[in-house]
């Protein structure tokens, strides 16, 4: 079966972003960019399905400007067979990303789509669910385990209060949570090989999708900074502060 994974280019998770002085957005100039960590988990899940002989082809897709080809090359180095960049300005809105992906999926006809649960820049946690709705596919979000038997995909999900297990008929969509797997690193030979793997560019027009704005970003501000408090020198002093100063115990 064919598996399609989505890959988003985001700020590296170790970087602390700063807000631009004019409050128009955060400042991404000269900031280290990387594959969204939840997408790394999605790519890893797809590759493991291929290694297990279940997936026959893994296609990685990213929506954004040409710069996201860097992350697609990473996906290819990790083991994806081919990649597709859907060319849009940077920061497309989730619903538009979902529409573009849905149009591509109509053409590609994968049996399984794996997305991250959340992009660590927008923290939206919605694109996969929107995509599943547009395709009228079943979904299992926040996956911590997946297994396939025949046409049924069993997925364990991380939910408030514990775990839930669902059974989905294919084609289906899964969004990854942190415990699904531990992504591998790309080896140098595989990075070299990835340069020769196919990477196709498609435009929204080719997919028959016209983009529309649903929201307007009015401003971006720094959050209220928390002041560091004091250090206490003993447990006794801590208990005293909590009882008599903060009055929280």
């Amino acid at each position: 079966m064919k598996v399609l994974v989505t890959v988003k280019r985001v700020i590296d998770y170790n970087v602390k972003v700063r807000v631009k002085a004019d409050h128009s957005d955060v400042d991404l100039a000269n900031v280290k960019m990387a594959m969204n960590p939840f997408c790394e988990i999605a790519v890893e899940a797809a590759i493991r399905l291929k290694e297990a002989g279940i997936a026959t082809e893994v296609v990685a897709v990213s929506v954004g400007s040409a710069s996201c080809q860097e992350q697609l090359r990473t996906a290819l180095a990790l083991g994806a067979d081919r990649a597709i960049q859907i060319d849009t300005p940077d920061n497309p809105e989730s619903l538009e990303v979902a529409k573009l992906l849905a149009a591509l999926i109509q053409a590609e006809q994968p049996s399984l789509v794996i997305t991250g649960k959340q992009a660590i820049d927008t923290d939206n946690n919605q694109t996969g669910q929107m995509l599943a709705a547009l395709l009228d596919w079943p979904q299992a979000t926040f996956a911590s385990a997946i297994s396939l038997s025949g046409e049924q995909l069993e997925v364990t999900r991380e939910v408030d209060g514990g775990l839930q297990t669902l059974s989905l008929s294919l084609p289906a969509l899964v969004t990854t949570d942190l415990r699904l797997n531990e992504p591998r690193y790309a080896s140098l030979p595989n990075i070299m090989k990835a340069k020769k793997k196919p990477l196709e560019v498609k435009t929204p027009a080719e997919l028959g999708v016209s983009l529309k704005a649903h929201t307007r970003l009015i401003k971006v501000e720094a959050p209220a900074e928390r002041q560091a408090g004091i250090k206490v020198d003993s447990v006794e002093a801590l208990v005293d502060k909590l009882r008599n100063q903060a009055r929280v115990i």
Partner: protein, 309 residues
């Protein structure tokens, strides 16, 4: 303006996060209705009808909604939602699973995890693990929102007397099926709404040692939280992860024990009223947000703390 708030519940009781979402609805202003979709959930509808400020409760009672799977529910809500200006749900795992589907079916954006209502179409939300706050205006006719519970006070659970009206369920067969659930049964307060939270990190070293956190939590009547590292290492359950990609908490008192204070962890707890950190590394970033920091070995400090409480 008319607002539909999707109730969170387990077919028996209304989850209090619904009351926080109702506060956001009040801030938007207009008539507020609540949808209770589930199975054998009449009791939940009655609780919702008693909430102050609710004008009507829609009850969709069907086996199809028993586990509140996203596929049938999103179809129901998208059908109902056409008649409202706003559709809101708590930003719980359930709301996050469901509402983007609703938005896509309505062909509108979903604005996730709002922390403030500036006007009926303009909202604030944290982005980049809370390192920035975005002000976002919706250009859509119907606004689909999820609400960060810790950012809105709960409305009063009583004082209302709304009518309960049955709505017909959609009967489309779905290609997703509920198999099983393993939910923690605990006498401790709920992590997302507890007044006191005690969280443990990698510093605990093992699942056995993590019991120290649970004992301290029980002394304080607290919920138990954890860092991602503690969950990944198997010290404790996944649903205890506090942070950018876990549960968001804002208790009166948050105790971080053996947690370094990575930005992803801070994103989930830095709105707490009082933060206490116990860590043996004086340079740990958690001390930059802690009101009271204790540089100590947790294996000495925590037992001593329990003795003194």
């Amino acid at each position: 303006m008319s607002i539909l708030v999707i109730a969170e519940h387990d077919n028996r009781a209304l989850n209090s996060v619904t009351l926080n979402a109702l506060q956001a609805a009040k801030a938007i202003g207009g008539e507020i209705q609540v949808l209770v979709a589930g199975h054998h959930c009449q009791a939940v509808a009655e609780q919702a009808a008693a909430v102050a400020g609710v004008s009507k409760v829609l009850l969709a009672d069907s086996p199809a909604y028993e586990h509140r799977l996203a596929e049938p529910l999103s179809k129901l809500i998208a059908t109902l939602g056409k008649d409202y200006s706003h559709v809101l749900a708590p930003a719980s795992t359930s709301g996050k699973n469901l509402m983007p589907r609703v938005a896509a079916l309505l062909d509108v954006a979903q604005i996730s995890d709002i922390t403030a209502v500036l006007s009926s179409d303009t909202f604030q939300r944290p982005i980049y693990a809370g390192n920035a706050v975005a002000t976002v205006q919706s250009l859509d006719a119907i606004k689909v929102l999820t609400v960060r519970s810790t950012a809105f006070e709960a409305v009063a659970a009583s004082g209302g007397a709304a009518a309960v009206e049955a709505v017909t369920a959609s009967a489309v067969p779905e290609r997703s099926r509920f198999v099983s659930e393993a939910l923690a049964v605990s006498d401790r307060p709920n992590l997302g709404s507890a007044k006191v939270v005690v969280s443990g990190g990698r510093g605990l070293g093992s699942a056995e040692n993590f019991a120290l956190i649970e004992q301290l939590a029980d002394k304080l009547g607290a919920a138990v939280g954890a860092s991602r590292a503690a969950v990944d290492a198997g010290f404790t359950a996944n649903d205890r992860q506090v942070g950018q990609t876990g549960t968001i908490v804002a208790p009166e008192l948050y105790l971080a024990v053996g947690i370094s204070g990575a930005i992803q962890h801070l994103a989930g707890m830095k709105e707490s009223k009082i933060i206490v950190a116990i860590n043996k590394d004086p340079e740990a970033p958690i001390f930059q947000v802690a009101d009271y920091g204790l540089v100590a070995d947790l294996f000495e400090a925590v037992p001593e703390l329990m003795r003194q409480l």
